[in-house]
Symmetry: C2
Subunit: 167 residues, 2 copies
DNA sequence: AAAATAATACTTGACATCAAACGGTTTTAT
DNA sequence: ATAAAACCGTTTGATGTCAAGTATTATTTT
């Protein structure tokens, strides 16, 4: 089904690149929506899942700022998401000896348990959604998207979140 | 640059389909971020731009619910975005004779002027981002993404927003 | 040692979004 | 004609997000 039909537009796209961009965004939204369905069964939002998942597969200690970099989200966002996760007992903040500014974010055993329960349906969903694509097609798609991001980064100046704050 | 480097992950992806999905989402986010840069210069958010853009290229009258369908957003969201746009004088709600439930949403001359100023840099940004792709490559990409959405829709049951409301 | 600078986390205010519920309105069924 | 159902816009409450600003702590410079 084309985007034109899907969104009930009157006219076909005149610009194939515009159509491509909207396809990327729309597919991303639909993927997030599907993921949210899975997460909701575990009383987690997408943002909370991302943090938990990232922590689960990371060896060594992580600060809030590092977590923000990995998930490409501002520090402010991390703060509020961690508040929620900490309240549920899935994560805790640990003080760091020798540097009282930073916290290490640590996943609790309970948090680990949740990730382990969540992972199978999560991966299953991904494989179902991409069941029509061969490995080679996936690699090709990935390559194209990487190139688009590369050009975007050139246009945007590195894409630094958390700006200079002032001057 | 691979996602693994981009996000600072310690291990390469074991699952190529997982990597593909994250590439789609990440690219979409970056596209939105770039778009937001452009919109901000015109004091518009992405949501506000979407509404304005949709109205500009639509002949005939549009209700709020129709607008919601096109932008794949709930009626509640449309309400609040229209409130903002109306306050800026870029859009107005018109009562409809013969049906007191609905409003027609109409772009004002001022709103049209904004879209016309905004469109060139918007299209330019898209073409720069996809400068590396041939038309044929774009069509191929679109086809793949459409197939992914098709499967997602099968998994999710149509994806109807604005649920039954009761009973 | 003191002052300036940078880094880290938090706070606040503004948005967009959804889910759920509500009050009118219109359409459909009985 | 009346009752039931569907529809439309809105409101409320919760999330997540960003931008801008503050407080605290580390580091560097002087």
């Amino acid at each position: 089904m084309s985007l034109q039909e899907e969104l009930g537009l009157q006219n076909p796209f005149i610009d194939i690149r515009h159509e491509a961009v909207l396809n990327i965004v729309r597919t991303s939204n639909l993927l997030s929506l599907r993921a949210a369905q899975i997460f909701r069964g575990f009383d987690l939002t997408e943002a909370q899942f991302n943090v938990l998942f990232s922590l689960h597969f990371t060896k060594g200690n992580v600060t809030q700022a590092e977590l923000g970099k990995r998930l490409v989200v501002t520090r402010a966002s991390i703060t509020s998401v961690l508040d929620k996760l900490e309240a549920k007992g899935l994560v805790r903040r640990a003080k760091v000896a020798g540097n009282r500014r930073i916290h290490h974010v640590i996943i609790t055993p309970e948090g680990t348990r949740v990730v382990q329960q969540l992972e199978p349906p999560y991966r299953m969903g991904i494989h179902l959604a991409l069941a029509g694509m061969e490995d080679e097609g996936c690699r090709h798609l990935i390559g194209e998207l990487e190139e688009i991001r590369e050009r975007l980064r050139q246009m945007m100046g590195n894409g630094e979140l958390d700006e200079p704050e002032d001057s």
